[in-house]
């Protein structure tokens, strides 16, 4: 159903504190994940699956890979005459400060999106924490409670420095948003619903504090604004740096975990390609691995994630690794505990080896 209650706003301009190999060539929002996806697919798909037809997407400075991936939003049903996908200007330097994903300045400079909408609510999401959620359930809960803002959280399963935690009082009211998050805290998953009129009021009232995150700006006014919380019971996976990216990706090899994110009733949508099915040669070995279309496996792949069009030649070994699109691992080569970014060729009979504590990462190679 077309959602006539809410429009969407996604911030894709969060910039990591650490400048790591994976982020040399792309913003976090377009980091490839689980083979064929990119982080930005998750907020876009959650909105698409809720029938949201107007989505503003706040761009980082290096937005080429995001535009390449999302285009005009066709794959998420966002190529609309009424509504559609609106790439929006954002702070080109991103919001590097921990916990800040909704820079007030960006919201203010994109006021037009909220003014033109007719829908009563706005769903705002970041792109670093991925989950598969029925947004309509949250919109309905928000509407039923009659509050100004509903913030979505999970019970934190581990410490998480870059996430925020919510201090929740009576009747689920949010009293405070803290930077950082410890095991057992109420981890804010960068997703909230706000009344559109209230958002417009905040834009006007707090304009002088535009350098702050929206929740910092309104911190003193939580009770007046009536900020409520909503617990999401599903899986929410945060990816803020290379280490957590690798660890969380490896955990997702477990089908039980993976199937919480990738459900047939609420598919995660992504840019369509025409890669043929993966091809396994006679004598190839693959186990506990997730392998994308267009891969050609002649060697051995264990505990690894392969993106589209990866070639593992005969006698080559890939173990505990994440291999990005178009990488060729030549005959007899060995890749272990590594992240190999796009288009690299690992020469025959060479080794690229990290350790479980120090994952080796090789940056994106120029197109051949």
């Amino acid at each position: 159903m077309i959602n006539n209650k809410a429009i969407g706003y996604i911030t894709a301009n969060y910039t990591a504190l650490k400048q790591e190999t994976l982020l040399e060539s792309r913003p976090i929002a377009s980091v490839p994940v689980m083979g064929r996806y990119r982080l930005i697919d998750f907020p876009l798909s959650n909105m698409a699956n809720a029938g949201i037809k107007t989505v503003g997407l706040v761009m980082p400075g290096n937005y080429r890979s995001i535009i390449d991936h999302v285009g005009h939003g066709k794959d998420w049903g966002l190529d609309r005459k009424r509504g559609g996908l609106f790439p929006l200007p954002g702070n080109p330097y991103g919001t590097t400060k921990a916990g800040m994903r909704f820079l007030l300045r960006d919201i203010i400079s994109n006021k037009t999106l909220f003014q033109r909408a007719k829908e009563p609510y706005v769903v705002l999401m970041g792109s670093n924490i991925i989950f598969n959620m029925d947004l309509n359930a949250i919109i309905e809960a928000h509407e039923a409670s009659g509050v100004g803002i509903t913030m979505v959280y999970v019970k934190a399963e581990r410490d998480h420095e870059e996430a925020c935690s919510l201090v929740i009082g009576d009747a689920g009211r949010v009293q405070k948003v803290n930077e950082g998050c410890k095991y057992g805290d109420n981890k804010f998953i960068d997703c909230f619903v706000i009344n559109r009129e209230l958002l417009l009021q905040i834009i006007d009232r707090y304009a002088a504090a535009d350098y702050l995150d929206i929740f910092e700006a309104i911190a003193a006014d939580f009770s007046r604004i009536d900020v409520c919380s909503y617990e999401f019971k599903g899986l929410a996976v945060g990816m803020f740096d290379q280490e957590t990216y690798y660890q969380r990706s490896m955990e997702m090899l477990d089908p039980v975990i993976n199937n919480q994110l990738f459900r047939k009733d609420r598919p995660i949508l992504t840019k369509a390609h025409d890669a043929p099915p993966a091809k396994y040669a006679a004598g190839s070995i693959a186990c506990n691995s997730r392998i994308s279309a267009g891969c050609e496996i002649m060697g051995t792949v264990r505990n690894s994630i392969l993106s589209r069009g990866v070639v593992v030649e005969s006698g080559a070994n890939v173990v505990n690794s994440i291999i990005m699109q178009g990488v060729i691992i030549k005959s007899g080569a060995r890749v272990e505990n590594a992240i190999i970014d796009k288009n690299n060729v690992v020469p025959a009979n060479t080794e690229l080896r990290g350790t479980p504590d120090a994952i080796l990462s090789v940056g994106k190679a120029p197109m051949a």
Binding site: M34, G35, R36, Y37, K74, D75, L253, P255, N258, F262, K264, P267, I268, L269, T270, A272, D274, P276, P277, A278, K279, Y280, A281, A282, G283, S284, I285, A286, C287, N288, S289, R290, I291, S292, A293, G294, E296, I297, V301, I305, L306, S307
Partner: protein
Amino acid sequence: MSKKECIAMLLAGGQGSRLGALTSKIAKPAVSFGGKYRIIDFTLSNCANSGIDTVGVLTQYRPYRLHAYLGSGSAWDLDERGGGVSILPPYATQEGGAWYAGTADAVTQNLDYIKTHDPEYVLILSGDALYRMDYRKMLDAHIQNEADLTIAVMPVPWEDASRFGILTTDDNDRITKFTEKPEKPDSNLASMGIYIFSAKFLIDALEEDALDQRSSHDFGGDIIPKALAEGRRLFVHKFHGYWKDVGTIASYHETSMGLLGANPEFDIYEKSAPIMSNDTTRPPHYIGPNGRVDDCLVSNGCEVFGTAKHSILSTDVVVEERAIVEDSVLLPGAIVKSGAHVVRAILGENAVVEEGVKLGSVDTQKDTAVVGNDVVIGKGE
């Protein structure tokens, strides 16, 4: 509407009865093939890769799934302004309505569509074969020969020639004789059922044929013999690549198996003319800790916990622990449960083979086992 040089008419209305259970609920062109494709993808991709941007798809038998799959044609980049894919089912008029009675009749009933686009040439195709062909080359030959009709042909082994429509030519590729399934063939050039007509000749020929009550309104049976008898300029265009009809269970299975191996005759990995499809968005497939995949094509969404050998696993297929699949084609959503053993079989979409069931036989003298779409095979069945 701007004038087009060449448009295509794709005959996709046949039942495909020789595919048995596979086409009981779905038109042949929409039958899954090669893991992530459907049979019509190959012809539509050929059109797109040949630069043809206007394709009328004539549908009739159980068309819903086919129509839904075609959509706007965007999956083949055929959502073109002033052209693209148009779905052309039978329709009613003030004089009543009629089913498509033959291949020529189907096109005759859509002469309005052809006249609207006002092309110079019309390419007639069917959506039931696996091949990669640049129609532009055929069109260039047609233009150079100043032909009324050009028929794509391929040389077949002489001993098989009596199974085909055979064309005999002079030294300049001009057709002198057409014989349907000749007992004593004098040529081994078999018609591939791919025609390019000069549009004016096609329209005249079809309008005449429509009035002929003795005609069965078939291109091979009526239009071509008549054109030949009238001394029209009919030429062959020789095709030397791979072409396989996938219209029977045996040919479907054999052609599918032919996609496997190190150097397949038809390479779905060929990048110069990619095969496009309207695939569902599913995650990369997963091979479990004890999974074993040997000489297979595996599509997105699959989960393999058992063993798959020399087989094609289409989108969302599940092979459970200790299950074995060999020399088989598993269509989208098929599930082989724990401990089951499937050999030389075709499992229809969402078919289920229950735990421990043995299906199919290694004996190549026996027919390939076929399980229809949505059918569950339990023990004792």
